[in-house]
């Protein structure tokens, strides 16, 4: 992925910054320009909102057939996390014994390396989820 394409998303990637509709109060992640509920009346009112960095595992999978860039870490866990502000978000689960992953497990967001463009290219960082301690 190009440097700029990742860089412009860093508020979401690093700090889980989404938006809250100034009209109906609903929270969305990632950021979007328009509230899907309020549409036109939300224009200009979609304010930056930092999601709570803690939540629980809503569902998960252990990936065995991995994308090329993750071949060296397979098998690994991915999950949909329900954050404490009731927003679903998808990411990897790290620092966990795969057989201990379960629905409802409390987790927190951590910043981790997501990908790197080969040995000489840029390293991309973003959120993953680790067991809450």
């Amino acid at each position: 992925m190009s440097v700029a394409r990742h860089w412009r998303e860093t508020p979401g990637r690093y700090n889980l910054i989404g938006v809250k509709c100034g009209n109906c109060g609903k929270v969305f992640f990632p950021k979007r320009t328009l509230c899907p509920e309020c549409r036109r009346s939300s224009m200009g009112k979609m304010n930056a909102y930092k999601l709570k960095a803690e939540g629980t595992v809503f569902t998960y999978s252990i990936i065995h057939d991995a994308p090329a860039e993750n071949n060296s870490i397979k098998p690994y866990a991915v999950a949909m996390i329900l954050t404490d502000d009731d927003v679903l978000i998808t990411g990897q689960l790290v620092d966990v014994e795969l057989e201990k992953v379960e629905i409802g497990m409390p987790v927190r967001a951590v910043l981790r390396k997501m990908s790197e463009d080969g040995e000489t290219g840029v390293i991309n960082y973003g959120y993953k989820f680790a067991p809450k301690n």
């Binding site: 992925m1 394409r5 998303e9 979401g12 969305f28 990632p30 809503f58 569902t59 998960y60 999978s61 252990i62 990936i63 065995h64 057939d65 991995a66 994308p67 090329a68 993750n70 098998p75 690994y76 991915v78 999950a79 949909m80 679903l88 978000i89 998808t90 990411g91 990897q92 629905i103 997501m114 990908s115 973003g126 993953k128």
Partner: protein, 388 residues
């Protein structure tokens, strides 16, 4: 709006077709459909081609012009349009063609669906499939397309909507039918243990829960119903074709154990066709993953929520059961050349309604349905065909 009829169908074999190129496949399917409709070619006044990712599979965009050219339509300047909606590309191309004929804009339209997947590595194929998800907020996170479906499956098992074994029986059903389809990629019946003991792809989904990588193309020819008898004595009526969208990313959904887009498209399709789910005798559903097949049976209203899995397990979706599902073998056994799938479903339903389905024929089928999904339920098209 005019009623629309299917007057010709054609398909290549699906599978690893090493000696055929993208254009070879597309032309073979198209010629078979034209031959089936008794056309010379000069009657065609519009083309739609469903294709997901020729740009990445064969580094070729501009598929409309390519197929028009090699089908011999370029010299007659026939308009050709390529449609992309990930896994739903073929089904939506079909719906666009139906609308073109129904509106009176076109009379004789050929719809093709094609994908040439084996010219790239399996890893590249997986990456292309992943691009049907939200690239920036799902695939980038290391989530694969299979794992998204696995997370749906996990949640469905957790909510007791289906059991692991019931889900697996969806693949057993598709393979049992695929064994009877000479064009299918896998013509071999399997048992439940084969599915349950297969190597893991994305836990809980194993190799036999997932559709294969396939090459293939399918085509159908449409015309106004009142002109159909001019070309064939066995036209099949398009009773309705409805399409619906949902969020691109799965995590944006309120509920991941149902595809709202299937529910919405089905509701509209039944309403336009003036029938109910119970009237469907044969259905082709989008079982890219076994769990998707189970969800389809429920979301289409063919079975109640929580009962589809048991019905599959009990053989109720086999030919001779309550409703025959994926008589072609489905995506799992027929194969899933992505852009071709939606059109291949129409080909199978047409065969069934004509009475041409040989050993897998559903007796006296009046209505048949095809459900084609793009992404994790982000785009769904449901079409209903009627024997006349």
């Amino acid at each position: 709006m005019r009623d629309v009829a299917i007057i010709g169908i054609g398909t290549t074999k699906f599978g690893e077709i090493w000696d055929a190129s993208f254009r070879d496949l597309g032309i073979e399917a198209g010629l078979k459909a034209m031959h089936d409709a008794n056309l010379t070619g000069s009657e065609v006044d519009g083309m739609f081609i469903g294709n997901m990712s020729s740009g990445r599979f064969i580094n070729q965009h501009h598929i409309g012009a390519l197929i028009a050219d090699y089908a011999g339509m370029a010299s007659r300047n026939v308009p050709a349009t390529r449609i992309e909606a990930a896994g739903a590309s073929g089904g939506i191309a079909f719906r666009q063609a139906v609308m073109a004929v129904a509106s009176g804009m076109n009379d004789i339209v050929i719809v093709g669906g094609a994908e040439k997947m084996t010219d790239v590595t399996d890893e590249a194929t997986n990456s292309i499939l992943d691009s049907a998800t939200d690239q920036q907020w799902e695939a980038t996170m290391g989530v694969t397309f299979a794992s998204l479906n696995a997370m749906i499956a996990r949640r469905c098992i957790h909510e007791k909507i289906v059991t692991r074994e019931e889900m697996a029986s969806m693949a057993v059903n598709s393979h049992a039918h695929g064994a009877l389809n000479p064009d299918a990629q896998f013509r071999k019946a399997i048992d439940l243990n084969t599915v349950l003991k297969a190597s893991m792809v994305a836990d809980p989904l194993g190799m036999f829960d997932c559709a294969p990588i396939s090459d293939g193309a399918s085509a159908v020819v449409l015309c106004p119903l009142d002109m159909a008898k001019k070309y064939t004595d066995r036209p099949v009526k398009v009773a309705s074709s409805a399409q619906a969208s949902d969020t691109l990313a799965l995590f944006q959904r309120k509920n991941i154990t149902t595809f709202d887009a299937t529910v919405a498209a089905a509701k509209q399709a039944y309403s336009l066709a003036k029938i109910e789910a119970k009237d469907i005798a044969v259905a082709e559903v989008h079982d890219h993953f076994t769990i998707e097949g189970i969800l389809a049976l429920q979301d289409l209203g063919l079975f109640k929520r929580g009962e589809a899995g048991k019905a599959v397990m009990d053989g109720q979706v086999m030919v001779g059961g309550k409703v025959a599902v994926n008589t072609s073998g489905g995506l799992k056994a027929r194969g899933h050349p992505i852009g071709a799938t939606g059109v291949a479903q129409i080909v199978e339903i047409t065969k069934q309604l004509r009475g041409d389905a040989d050993k897998r024929q559903v007796p006296n089928a009046k209505y048949g349905l095809a459900q084609n999904v793009g992404g994790t339920g982000s785009a769904v098209v449901v079409s209903i065909m009627e024997a006349i």
